[in-house]
């Protein structure tokens, strides 16, 4: 029976599928070891179609940048299985894959894919992605700023069955743990990632038992149609026209020249076209994006503008993206890609925001800080007699919008992660924060100003260490819109033996040697302003001066006489 389920059954099944994914997300976070997953929620879970890998449902609290990537990796796995290059799925198998070119992001994002069978027949795929703290390669933590080929970035796994009929393959496990740093905790993450899929499988089996395969299939295909209709309805509200924008990555980390993203969005009726023609060619350093990440960045930017769109493949159908072949947004093997998920994706999203801010300024903010602010420190703590890899991620200001000023220290647009508390960082690593403060003056001026970035200064207390930085917006600040001014650009300063050193590439560097007493100082970008600064309410200007957000002189200069 393939009778179309009624409106109610559909809504119930849709909510049920989302809950399956939410439960997978929670189980994964709560049992993970990687602080990037456990504290920063750098993970996502979803359900995918067997035919084309299309997204059926995704958790509401998954990391946004994975919104579109996993359907590409499911598609790649199913294609390789069809071609006989990967062994076909059996119940309770779990494939592991982190190959960026097979629907991925960077190597640290490791995907587990599990076939879900009903009565011996493949029904769908469950998949999750988790960011591992290290995957080998030339720098601890994997965020190389200087790699020129993917092999330097770490261990690359094609889809292989890490679990065969529920049993972990010790040989594959040994290969993995022999190639990554701080390997002793990875068994915990592997078990957490696999058990989260099993949690999802159990819940999904309950849904199947209750509604039956035929109803579930009919509901899934109808959901896809509905999501597409909802997205089309949103797009219909965008005036027809061509909207252009540009966004710049500071450099690729190797060649010190900006990389340019050129975007032309065409709104026509109920479809939005995205064309990146004219963007920079593939680059030597790791700021290339694989195409799955490029698509995902477009999807997540649109979803930030229309947050109520359901997360399934239907919602993406009206978004017509021209594959950006020949540009750094469609990297092929062996281009290095470690910066794509955290940074390049955010520049792509920024280009989408800036173009659509011209079309629907009431729904879009000025540019947010748009950098994950990765600062990695790897070293040896003589007091503990152990090596360590430390990550510090940072937020920045959000853009002002039609209603209010931007948020300060907002999370990266592609993330939903929290930063670790200073007290936790100082417990674990031989460092001392001299300050962790709001970065005064960094919000772009405007009728509604941008939010503020952060300003921190951290001192190495013991031993020696190497610092790496993969950040962005060091050359140009996040742009304002509607006459608003740009937010302040990112600044990195290294205080070594009484001297101050700024990386040549401003926001990117790697292996900067530090000794005890040396300090790293970072100022993250403020958000762009919205509307002309002269239109700002004088009372708000005065309040901002009272709070020390701006000095009186700055306020007079930025906001004019009436301040």
């Amino acid at each position: 029976m393939t009778e179309k389920p009624d409106a109610l059954t559909m809504a119930v099944i849709q909510a049920g599928l989302t809950q399956v994914c939410n439960e997978m997300d929670i189980a994964f976070t709560r049992s993970a070891f990687s602080p990037v997953i456990a504290e920063a929620d750098d993970r996502s879970s979803g359900i995918y179609a067997i035919e084309d890998g299309a997204l059926i449902a995704q958790g509401e609290f998954g990391l946004p940048v994975f919104v579109g990537t996993m359907q590409h990796s499911t598609a790649a796995i199913t294609r390789l299985i069809r071609e006989g290059r990967v062994a076909p799925p059996e119940p309770d198998d779990i494939y592991i894959v982190n190959d960026p070119y097979l629907g991925g992001t960077h190597l640290m994002d490791v995907r587990f894919a599990m076939p879900f069978h009903v009565d011996g027949e493949l029904f769908c795929w469950l998949q999750n992605t988790g960011h591992w703290p290290d995957i080998g390669g030339m720098v601890p933590g994997g965020f190389s700023a200087k790699a020129t080929e993917v092999e330097q970035e770490g261990l690359r796994l094609p889809p292989v069955k890490l679990f065969k009929r529920g049993v972990m393959d010790q040989e594959i496990y040994s290969i993995i743990t022999s190639n990554i740093r701080v390997a002793d905790q990875r068994i915990g993450d592997i078990k957490a990632q696999a058990s989260a899929l099993k949690v999802g499988a159990n819940r999904l089996a309950e849904l199947v038992a209750r509604y039956g395969v035929a109803t579930l299939k009919a509901a899934i295909s109808d959901m896809r149609v509905r999501a597409a209709e909802l997205m089309r309805a949103h797009i219909a509200g965008i005036p027809d026209g061509v909207y252009r924008s540009e966004a710049f990555v500071d450099s690729d980390g190797v060649v010190n020249e900006p990389l340019r993203i050129v975007l032309k969005i065409t709104a026509q009726g109920t479809e939005l076209g995205f064309d990146f023609t004219g963007s920079s060619p593939p680059c030597r350093g790791p700021m290339n994006s694989v195409v799955a990440t490029t698509y995902s960045a477009v999807y997540l930017a649109v979803r930030h503008i229309f947050p109520d769109t359901p997360l399934n493949a239907g919602a993406f159908e009206p978004l017509k993206i021209v594959r950006p072949e020949g540009t750094f947004l469609d990297a092929r093997y062996p281009r290095p890609v470690s910066g794509c998920a955290a940074e390049v994706s955010q520049r792509i999203a920024e280009a989408v925001f800036l173009a659509l801010a011209k079309a629907i300024p009431e729904k879009v903010t000025a540019a947010p800080a748009g950098s994950s602010g990765n600062f990695a420190l790897g070293g040896f703590d003589p007091a503990k007699g152990a090596a360590y890899v430390m990550y510090q991620i940072s937020g920045g200001g959000y853009g002002g919008n039609i209603e209010h000023d931007g948020l300060s220290n907002g999370c990266s647009t592609i993330g939903i992660s929290k930063t670790a508390p200073v007290e936790v960082m100082e417990q674990y690593y031989p460092i001392l924060f001299r300050r962790f403060a709001l970065r005064e003056g960094s919000g772009g001026a405007g009728q509604h100003r941008g939010g503020f970035g952060v300003h921190y200064e951290v001192e190495l207390l013991r031993g020696e260490a190497r610092a790496s930085f993969v950040m962005d917006h060091g050359r140009f600040g996040p742009p304002g819109v509607q006459g608003g001014q740009d937010g302040a650009p990112n600044i990195v300063r290294i205080h070594r033996g009484g001297e101050v050193f700024t990386p040549e590439h401003l926001s990117k560097d790697q292996d900067v040697p530090l000794k005890a007493g040396d300090r790293v100082e970072v100022m993250t970008p403020g958000g762009g302003g919205y509307g002309p600064a002269s239109a700002r309410d004088p009372a708000l200007v005065a309040r901002d001066v009272l709070r020390g957000y701006f000095t009186a002189d700055e306020a007079a200069r930025l906001f004019g006489e009436h301040a």
Binding site: A15, D184, E229, P307, E423, E457
Partner: protein, 683 residues
């Protein structure tokens, strides 16, 4: 005769339950439900007492639950607070943990409770081990305090980095500040919570300071008014941990009263379950704009120290773990742009409220759907002065939902309920599953105005075996006040590998926590019939950041036993064993619970009002739409049902404060203490 009053001030009503203990076992209960007096809650409290015909002078004990602090935080009507903090960390409270209000969408703002101009840095610094890096600049503390006084601050927070590891600087700075501060409203960061995470600890302290003067004034005023009416005995105030503290002490840890309202409902549920022979339940309190759910396992409500009152405002003190979902009677049902039915998250609130409230509402809500289906009696809506005709409600449901969906009015209204229930069921799954429990092992304890209306349908959705509707579903929070224990909680961070932990020190810390709790409770010894001390440990595997709470047995615990307990708890939650990785002992926890005399719950409904058969309790017939058809069902009056009565669904049980629906295929029994126990299947 001993008279004890439990009084809960909610957003709309002030509820009172007054228990008059007769000699021996029995006793009687008086009730009052009057509108809350928002400008001064004390007036409503006095009026509620007087409504029972008893004078305050005749009361032996009052236990009071107040929303004064909750409302103050939610409405940001707070005291002006200043902060003295570590050099370089003035902005901790404003920057938070780099989040945004919602996963998708870049709109939204956040204002910290203490504005930036009232946050002053002074030289001092501890490291993570509690060693002094920079000495405390005592002169700077004094100057900062004086400046904040001059700037009009009423309360002060002193919050230093790593004070949980070594509070010496905070303690000394507190002494200095006290020399100049004009009142006692000084909160030290480590005092409520001695645990790492500077934003959460500092925010908890700032919530405390911001509500402390408000709570202090309110309690003084209430005590004054009560004393003026001759009340001379003790006043206890509910805390969010489900326990009570003396009014004399409550303001010191004022933050603990935030979220005490939902906690008292859960405590009432636990007490009711205990007298009903049940150990496991999910509490389900559905109101107008939101629904609160919590989990009781083994008779004990789950407690969490990681709750958040609003975006960016975590309060990390142990509180009954009540989760709120934005689905209530006022949740709006609509069709989205793709023609799909949605319920919530928008709510009609109480103004204009559901269509049937007659206040100009035109959006279909869950309450309206209940009305259309005969589940609510249009003539008996509480708080409705000008009811609208049911035909008017039907016409709007028809135009907005039924026709566009191609459904009958009844089918559309049913769809609204089913979808609303689906969201609430999701929330219930999350509270249970996220802690490793299968919801099917739990009964559903339904209360609040709308809980009993949806409970059986919800139990069906979740495949739960039983629904329990207590005798007074609409007065459950007041009952919570009557039955709550005296409870003191303590947390101390150790954060050390279990293999390295000094087990002697562990025993010393636990013993000190226990002694401190016993000393506080000693002030209320008259009320306590038994003291229970619970010890626990928060643990994790090395490298993790999330914690698992492990209950510790009484007496000294060995290293090996702790390891085993932890591994078992971890396996229960995640079905994972990790022999490869070392365990870490993060926090030691003690709860000292002074159990108050049990209240015989059978007295909640006057036995003299009960008829001898269920049929005599039938007050009418009414049409009810369920499972796709209209039924003519019996309407029972709850207070008239005899103990042991058996009712077959479909049926309606009405009482002044709630309506219970027994769905087709379910049956109900009035148990020995007057609860409705509803299970699937026909007798």
């Amino acid at each position: 005769m001993r008279r004890v009053a439990g009084i809960d001030v909610g957003g709309t009503f002030t509820d009172l339950l007054l228990y008059e203990a007769a000699a021996g076992e029995g006793g009687t209960v008086k009730l009052a439900k009057i509108p809350t007096t928002a400008d001064n809650q004390a007036h409503g409290v006095i009026a509620a007492i007087e409504a029972t015909g008893v004078l305050p002078a005749d009361l032996d004990l009052i236990i009071h639950g107040t929303t004064a602090t909750t409302n103050a935080v939610l409405e940001r009507k707070l005291a002006r607070v200043g902060l003295i903090t570590t050099m370089g960390f003035r902005d901790t409270l404003e920057l938070g943990r780099r989040t945004r209000p919602k996963p998708y969408g870049l709109f939204g703002t956040f204002e910290p409770l203490i504005p930036r101009e009232l946050r002053i840095e002074i030289p001092e610094r501890m490291d993570a081990r509690g060693q002094v890096v920079t000495a405390l600049d005592e002169g700077a503390v004094r100057e900062a305090a004086q400046k904040l006084i001059a700037d009009g601050c009423e309360a002060l927070v002193i919050h230093f980095l790593h004070a949980y590891a070594n509070p010496a600087h905070e303690l000394r700075a507190g002494e200095i500040a006290r020399e100049v501060w004009p009142n006692g409203y000084i909160t030290l960061g480590h005092a409520l919570l001695s645990e790492y995470r500077e934003y959460e600890r500092g925010t908890t302290a700032s919530v405390n300071a911001a509500v402390q003067p408000i709570l202090d004034r309110y309690i003084r005023r209430l005590q004054g008014e009560l004393e003026a009416r001759g009340f001379k005995r003790d006043l206890l105030v509910m805390n969010g941990n489900g326990g009570t503290v003396s009014a004399r002490l409550v303001a010191r840890d004022a933050a603990k009263t935030v979220m005490s309202g939902p906690a008292s409902g859960v405590m009432a549920a636990a007490a009711t379950l205990g007298q009903s022979g049940l150990a496991n339940a999910i509490t389900y309190d559905m109101g107008g704009t939101s629904t609160d759910v919590a989990l009781i396992h083994g008779g004990v409500p789950e407690v969490s120290a990681e709750l958040t009152i609003a975006y960016g405002l975590p309060i990390h003190v142990p509180m009954v773990d009540v989760r709120t979902v934005g689905a209530g009677g006022g949740s709006i049902a609509a069709l989205n742009a793709a023609g799909m039915l949605t319920v919530g998250p928008h709510s009609a609130g109480s103004e204009p409220g559901p269509i049937c409230y007659g206040r100009g509402g035109t959006d279909v809500t869950i309450t309206d759907a209940n009305l259309v289906l005969g589940r609510l009696d249009p003539g008996k809506l509480l708080a409705v002065k000008n009811p609208v005709a049911i035909e008017h409600v039907r016409a709007i449901v028809d135009a907005k939902l039924a026709r566009p969906l191609g459904l009958s009015i009844e089918a559309a209204a049913s769809a609204v309920l089913t979808l609303g229930n689906m969201h609430m069921a999701g929330a219930i799954r999350m509270v249970s599953l996220s802690r490793g429990h299968d919801p099917r092992d739990f009964a559903l304890f339904a209360f609040g105005g709308a809980g009993p209306l949806h409970a059986v349908a919800l139990a069906r959705e979740l495949a739960l075996a039983e629904v329990l509707v207590p005798a007074r579903p609409g007065l459950t929070n007041a009952l919570g006040c009557l039955v709550a224990d005296l409870r003191q909680d303590f947390v101390q961070t150790l954060n050390i590998g279990l293999d390295l932990a000094d087990m002697g020190h562990v025993a010393t810390v636990l013993a000190a926590q226990r002694a401190q709790g016993l000393a506080i409770n000693a002030d209320e010894q008259d009320e306590i019939v038994e003291t229970v001390v619970l010890h626990g440990a928060d643990m994790q595997f090395r490298g993790q950041t999330h914690l698992i709470r492990v209950a510790l047995p009484a007496g000294e615990v060995s290293r090996e036993a702790l390891q085993t307990l932890f591994e078992a708890a971890y396996f229960r939650r995640f079905q994972v064993t990790l022999p490869e990785i070392r365990a870490v002992l993060v926090n030691l926890i003690t709860s000292v619970i002074g159990k108050r005399r049990a209240l015989p719950l059978a007295s909640l409904i006057d036995p003299d009002g009960r008829k001898s058969t269920a049929d005599e309790a039938v007050v009418g017939l009414r049409p009810l739409f369920a499972d796709g058809v209209w039924h003519d069902v019996k309407v029972y009056q709850r207070e008239m049902l005899p103990i042991g009565a058996l009712l077959a669904g479909p049926a309606v049980v009405q009482q002044i404060d709630a309506t219970t629906i027994i769905e087709p295929g379910w049956r109900a029994r009035v148990d020995e203490i007057g609860n409705l126990r509803i299970v699937a299947g026909l007798a």
